[in-house]
């Protein structure tokens, strides 16, 4: 089922080119984003040990997901744009993963070198 604007528009030339967002939904997403920002700031005053970074990144990813899905209207479009966005995230993750793998691998060597200085 091709839901792109071109397909719709070819059949009905006067149809809207894209989904028109509902203002109430946008405001609700904004409210959720503010709440999540409050949560992430509040959580920063507590110490969860090794989970600190994980919690911060999880909340940030949730916020990013809200912005991408509703503000950037990924939710209302054909999957191609979502695919491009996720491809970017996937390649970025690959980039970070390989760099971190390399870095962690040589951690003991760095520490040895530093202790020798």
């Amino acid at each position: 089922m091709d839901s792109t604007a071109a397909a719709q528009n070819a059949d009905h030339p006067e149809a809207p080119l894209a989904h028109v967002a509902d203002a109430r939904v946008l405001v609700a997403v904004f409210a959720a984003l503010i709440v999540l920002t409050g949560i992430t700031v509040a959580v920063s005053y507590f110490d969860f040990g090794v989970f600190n970074l994980l919690v911060a990144l999880a909340v940030a990813t949730l916020k990013a997901g809200l912005v991408a899905a509703w503000f950037m209207h990924l939710r209302y479009e054909s999957g191609l744009h979502l695919f491009i966005f996720l491809a970017g995230v996937a390649f970025l993750s690959l980039f970070l993963l390989l760099a971190m793998l390399d870095s962690v691998q040589y951690h003991p060597d760095i520490q040895t070198w530093e202790q020798r200085k």
């Binding site: 792109t4 203002a23 920002t37 940030a60 912005v67 970070l96």
Partner: protein, 264 residues
């Protein structure tokens, strides 16, 4: 891009071509789809662009967590949170502006774009306040060299000692943050950590601020166009694409804020 042109053979259209339809597209829908696809690919490159700096952040933080623990104490959390709220609000007004352009509501569109520009300017203003604060305490990387260029600073600047923060301020600030009494060695280590953190902080936030500034320029252009009635139900592509860009800028700040300001 704004020329009308006769359709070629085999077209399904019963209506006359839209004024904004370029000759190499069959329908306005196809033109709009192409524009959005191009924009998403550009956003992909932007994600990877910032990704490089985030990678530097990740590697440094994994190897030297104390750099970030020490460094982030010099960032103002309330100001950062305020900036986050302002940017999120500007994202909302931008999304509403795209909606207004789709519904032919010219006045609402102009208002919303103006509010977005205002919020973006407030964001840059707060950033300027933060940067000035760093400059006053000599915590900008390479500040000694910059001052030497303008013949104002010390004369003995070499690549090794360009970072000379106000040590009394650093000591006082860290001790207030609960570091206990810092001896000479502890202070030297803190200064070294601060240098690395400030480099990463300034690179990330300055690149982001540059994107915000470019966004302001684009939105002012949109504002002028909207005031002249260029955008409406049949042609709102520039507003939509600028909206996508602006939301990406917001997305990047959503990640920058906890990673820089909320470390513990």
């Amino acid at each position: 891009m704004t020329e009308s042109s006769p359709h070629g053979e085999g077209s399904n259209h019963a209506v006359s071509p839209h004024a904004h339809l370029a000759h190499h597209f069959d329908t306005p829908g196809q033109q709009y789809d192409s524009a959005r696809l191009g924009m998403w690919i550009f956003l992909l490159t932007e994600i990877l662009f910032f990704g490089g700096l985030f990678c530097a952040y990740a590697v440094y933080r994994a190897n030297r967590p104390e750099v970030f623990l020490d460094g982030h104490r010099f960032l103002d959390k309330p100001l950062g949170a305020a900036n986050t709220v302002v940017l999120l609000f500007s994202s909302l007004t931008m999304a509403l502006a795209v909606r207004a352009s789709q519904l032919d509501r010219r006045k609402v569109l102009v208002c919303l774009l103006a509010v977005t520009v205002l919020c973006a300017t407030v964001f840059l203003g707060v950033k300027a306040v933060e940067y000035k604060h760093k400059w006053d305490h000599r915590m900008v990387p390479g500040q000694a060299r910059i001052e030497a260029w303008f013949s104002r600073g010390p004369k003995d600047v070499t690549p090794g000692n360009e970072f000379r923060p106000d040590e009394a301020y650093v000591k006082e600030h860290l001790e207030k943050a609960g570091y206990g009494n810092l001896d000479k060695e502890g202070l030297a280590r803190a200064v070294k950590n601060l240098s690395t953190f400030m480099s990463i902080y300034f690179c990330l936030t300055a690149l982001h601020a540059l994107h915000v500034a470019v966004g302001i320029g684009v939105m002012v252009w949109l504002l002028v166009g909207a005031a002249r009635g260029r955008f409406g139900k049949s042609y709102f592509t520039p507003v939509d694409l600028a909206g996508l860009y602006w939301h990406l800028v917001d997305l990047i700040w959503i990640y920058l804020f906890p990673l820089l300001y909320l470390i513990h």
